[in-house]
Amino acid sequence: MTVPPAAEPDQVVLVPHWLTAVDREEVERAVTAALGVGPVHPVAAIHLGDVLTELHVAAAREVVWPAPVARVRLATGWGADVVPVRLSALELASVLSLPGLAPVARAALTGGRST
């Protein structure tokens, strides 16, 4: 697996990807499986670890500040389980590079609600 160079932490832009509970479970499963089976490039492993963190952080944001996302759901008609998962370009690339990622989650990350 090729890994792009690490960027300055303060220049990283996190882009929201609107994922359903099913999509998030699939991303979590694929990332956990990849990290468990290995071998993963150490830098990619860090990014994948950050993706796992982000999945939990996205759930935590829902508890602390539910109102802004609730407004988006109201305006778009998305289901109650759709939550923005904010990923940097590197994190997104490391998830998309996983061969085991189900097409549903891949589509949710690259198109659909995210575009």
């Binding site: 996190l14 796992l52 963190t53 982000e54 999945l55 939990h56 952080v57 759930a59 935590a60 944001r61 508890v63 602390v64 500040w65 109102a67 802004p68 904010r86």
Partner: protein, 253 residues
Amino acid sequence: MSETLFGAPAGLFARLDRTEVRVPDVRAALARLTPADLDPELRLDVFEGTGAGPMLVLEEAGRRTRVLLAELATQLTRSRVASTPEGITAGVVAWLARRPVPDEVAAATGIALLDWSDPRQTVLGWRVAVTRSALVVPWRPSRTASLPLVHQVRSAALGRAAAVDATLRMAGPVGLCTATGAPGLDTTVLVRPEALLQEMADRGLRLRDAHVVVTPGRPVACAEGPVARRLAAEATEACATLPWRAVADLGWV
């Protein structure tokens, strides 16, 4: 405590429809109040002939608050309360619910929690607040409150905050803490941040550099520094991320 004064703002059409609340409307709304709308300790009187027009005087546990009906009507108009009898009554009830807290009541039931100390919502501080039905109302010492009394009220409020039941929920590397059954009082758990950290350690998350994300009136999040910063990075609501040891050094509002 920083939400809009008279409930959620109305929709666009309601906002375009500018109607004015007048003094007779407010007076009629006050006359319509039932005992169920008022605390038993609260006394309401309208005095005429003050020179500046009729004045509403609230009296509760030794604290007196005066407001001109004209001023109250202006406030209701500015908050775009529907100028129907029901709308104005609801607006007056909401205004009464936020009336100043008497020192005696604060001393008897005040709870310490974190709130913004400036209108721009940048600096956190401890504040004594009381709950009125579902509302959390801040206490500001009355003009007659002595310094020892203020200290007494604050220390009693810290004691009550320490006794508030808290629920910890784990979301991976983030601990989320809420006050059990007391919405709006979640930041009271930071009176004893070490207890929160201990409970997180018991649940298997031992933090080396714990940071808390504080949003007054909302659940408290606790996580390792970078995770906490990621959590709060693009929050649209005002919140503060700080090391847990800094919480003890925050001043009083």
